[in-house]
């Protein structure tokens, strides 16, 4: 069961990443696209046990760091998504999260992950954009992620719940 769950999770990350870089740029707003990998990680954090979600966050972030066309310092998305997974796992309760709770968690995780990535750029002296530009990026990214939540989260959460019945929050 664990292998199957890992397989499903990794497949979800791969599909999310490819769609994110190849399909969504056609719909992007000023180059800002929804972070589908983050949605996969949040879905896992809300459904299955925390260690799995944390490691999945790290793996998904590392994939984002290494897959073309990424050119930033590797490890930055890994850090951001690990912490986002940690926060999302803290939110998890023993009953099934309500729709509002899911949307809120996605918004918070998206805000934290994108901000953390931007902050790590400032720490590493990446000549990124201005603070205003960063704020725009963070806020639009949150809006994008929340917009896609109703389409992406429910099927993923059902998938993870089915593959791990002992942790399923029914």
């Amino acid at each position: 069961m664990t292998y199957l769950r890992w397989l499903a999770a990794l497949a979800a990350v791969v599909v999310a990443l490819v769609v994110q870089v190849s399909l969504f740029p056609h719909l992007a707003w000023h180059g800002i696209v929804p972070n589908l990998c983050l949605l996969v990680v949040v879905a896992a954090a809300l459904t299955v046990e925390a260690p799995f979600a944390l490691v999945l966050g790290f793996v998904a972030g590392l994939t984002l760091d290494l897959a073309p066309p990424a050119d930033h310092v590797a490890g930055r998305w890994a850090l951001a998504l690990t912490i986002a997974a940690f926060l999302a796992a803290r939110v998890r309760q023993d009953q099934k999260p309500s729709a509002m709770a899911v949307v809120g968690t996605v918004a918070a995780a998206s805000f934290v992950a994108t901000s953390l990535f931007a902050l790590s750029g400032i720490v590493l002296d990446d000549p990124g954009s201005s603070v205003g530009g960063l704020l725009e990026v963070v806020l639009v990214a949150v809006v994008w992620d929340v917009l896609l939540t109703p389409f992406v989260l429910p099927p993923l959460m059902r998938l993870f719940a089915r593959l791990s019945p002992q942790w399923a929050t029914t």
């Binding site: 180059g31 073309p68 690990t82 998890r92 990446d126 990214a141």
Partner: protein
């Protein structure tokens, strides 16, 4: 509020019962440290980063997937084009042929500009054969703004003869340079990236300077031109072309953009100008990679004299 109260009580009272849901701190710390280690490795590695093999391996795996998805998506993104040209179907092949013709004229123009530069400069060393061929490719993946880098993936890699530091153009002007390649794809750094610096030359005065990316896809936000000679003032509406060298990443004589505004910076005692790039970076599709003339490739090359090989 009730839920919060419930959690509070559980945190204090039923810690053991709840523990299965609580993310383990130790794992978090381990993963965060792993991330920081990766960052450190990548930063301190500099040019020959120890993560390059990993990047390459992941690229080999993801490149074909990205190309496939981009190819599958392309018919749908061209739907608006069908509505625009009501009578004439925007045929994929015809589109490509038209772009190829444009790219070909681009090569011819590049040669012309280069000859002109050489006349002015009296540089005879570069004269012999800078003739390069154009390798057509399509953009299959675009880096997100969240990642703060302006890079794209194109569907031509080392198998097609593409290598690092090659110049990428489209029918409007300079797009960027190749950063790294996999077998079937290449990652291109766009000139709008804040990290990108291109040696530029003002068309009329032949003054040289450096063109930096502004970190915005907005065409009007433009690029930043800083002239080396602070006594010369660039003129508005002047064209900026690449300065280039036979060893550096950018081929000489490729048009970059048009000067729209000029500032004198008193503090730095130099002239700054805003250059509006010719290329619209928000809708990149067909590009050409300038490869050495006569190089082997798995697809047709457009030679400098316009022949297809």
């Amino acid at each position: 509020m009730g839920a919060l109260g419930g959690r509070e009580r559980r945190w204090t009272g039923l810690d053991r019962l709840e523990s299965r849901n609580r993310p383990p701190r130790s794992l978090l710390v381990a993963l965060v440290l792993a991330s920081i280690t990766l960052v450190t490795l990548d930063v301190s590695g500099g040019a020959g980063s120890p993560l390059d093999p990993a990047r390459r391996a992941v690229g080999e795996a993801f490149g074909p997937a990205e190309s496939t998805v981009a190819a599958a998506v392309r018919p749908f993104t061209s739907v608006p084009a069908w509505f625009r040209s009501k009578s004439d179907l925007a045929d994929e092949v015809r589109d490509l042929e038209a772009s190829n013709a444009d790219l070909r004229s681009q090569v011819e123009l590049a040669g012309f500009e280069r000859n002109r530069l050489e006349q002015y400069d009296g540089l005879t060393t570069a004269a012999a054969d800078l003739g390069s061929a154009l390798l057509p490719a399509r953009v299959v993946a675009v880096g997100s703004r969240q990642s703060q880098s302006f890079t794209v993936t194109i569907d031509a890699g080392s198998a097609a003869g593409v290598g690092p530091d090659m110049t990428v153009v489209n029918n409007d002007g300079l797009v960027g340079r190749v950063l790294r390649v996999t077998r079937s794809t290449a990652t291109v750094l766009l000139i709008v990236d804040p990290d990108s610096t291109v040696g530029g030359r003002v068309g009329s005065s032949m003054e040289i300077g450096f063109v930096n990316g502004s970190g915005s896809l907005d065409q009007a936000a433009g690029l930043d031109l800083r002239l080396v000679d602070d006594a010369s003032v660039p003129a508005r509406d002047d064209t900026v072309v690449t300065w280039g060298s036979s060893t550096g990443p950018y081929e000489p004589g490729v048009p970059i953009g048009r000067i729209t505004e000029v500032y004198s910076s008193l503090r730095e005692a130099s002239q700054r100008a805003v250059v509006e790039p010719f290329v619209d970076f928000s809708s990149l599709d067909v590009v050409g990679v300038m490869v050495p003339s006569g190089s082997t490739s798995d697809r047709a090359l457009i030679e400098a004299d316009g022949t297809l090989r």
